[in-house]
């Protein structure tokens, strides 16, 4: 988008939804829920029989679930699944990361 007027209008539209107050009132609970789950999983892995916790993996699942919920209105639920999935929401063509 290179047109200055169109950009300004789009930016104004986005600014409200991304304001601190809007994010806090609309998303605080849902984001905290996902963060808590990610931290719980990291703690489990770190204190379990495994060699340690893959924090990049859990932060990736967490961040993707958060932004998916904000953008699409539905989480990908990858934190619950514990791995990356390519076609969420139980679509018929659902593929799990196999390698």
């Amino acid at each position: 988008m290179r047109d200055a007027h169109a950009h300004a209008a789009r930016r104004k539209l986005f600014a409200r939804a991304f304001s601190n107050s809007s994010l806090k009132s609309n998303w605080d609970v849902e984001v905290r829920r996902k963060v808590s789950l990610a931290v719980r999983r990291i703690k489990q892995d770190a204190s379990g029989a495994q060699k340690g916790a893959d924090v990049l993996k859990w932060w990736t699942l967490m961040a993707t679930d958060v932004i998916a919920h904000l953008s699409f209105g539905e989480s990908f639920n990858m934190l619950e699944l514990g791995k990356v999935c390519h076609l969420p929401w139980n679509s018929p063509t659902h593929i799990n990361e196999s390698d």
Partner: protein, 175 residues
Amino acid sequence: MPIKRARQIATADDVVYEYGAHAVKNMRSGYGNALNLFGQMLAATDNGEKVSLTEKDVREEAGNLIVAGSDTTAVTLTYLVWAVLKQPDLQALLEDEVAQLSKELNTAELEAAPILNSVIEETLRLYGAAPGALPRTVPSQGTVIAGHQIPGGVEISTQAYTNHRDPSAFPEPLR
């Protein structure tokens, strides 16, 4: 499998665009947990304000947000954990500070916690996930930057990686 992987990459854009249907549906009718940012954007517009957000726009913006909001956050958080763990003194300070906060960790006290916020700021300075360039076009009359005459129309840019390590702004920039 390389072939399967190649197919996934080739169709990734289509797949995200397909998901966009969910974004459009939930923008119009989402409630409770199925609300999304686009519905909130429309709800926040003033009466009579002209809003143009087509179905295609929403699909594309939802795809943009997925790209911009997933790996960047995950990579930065991972660097934060690494940077703290490799400095046990800092780790102890941070743990002490957070231990003083309430059990609920409310937003106001988190925003006021000096060590926590410094750790976040410094992680973003040194390990921000997109320390890229910010290209701008020189106005037609040209300009002088750091003694160099730059003609109009030339694209110039500053880049965060170098700026964030400039010792005149950050003494001991790599610490």
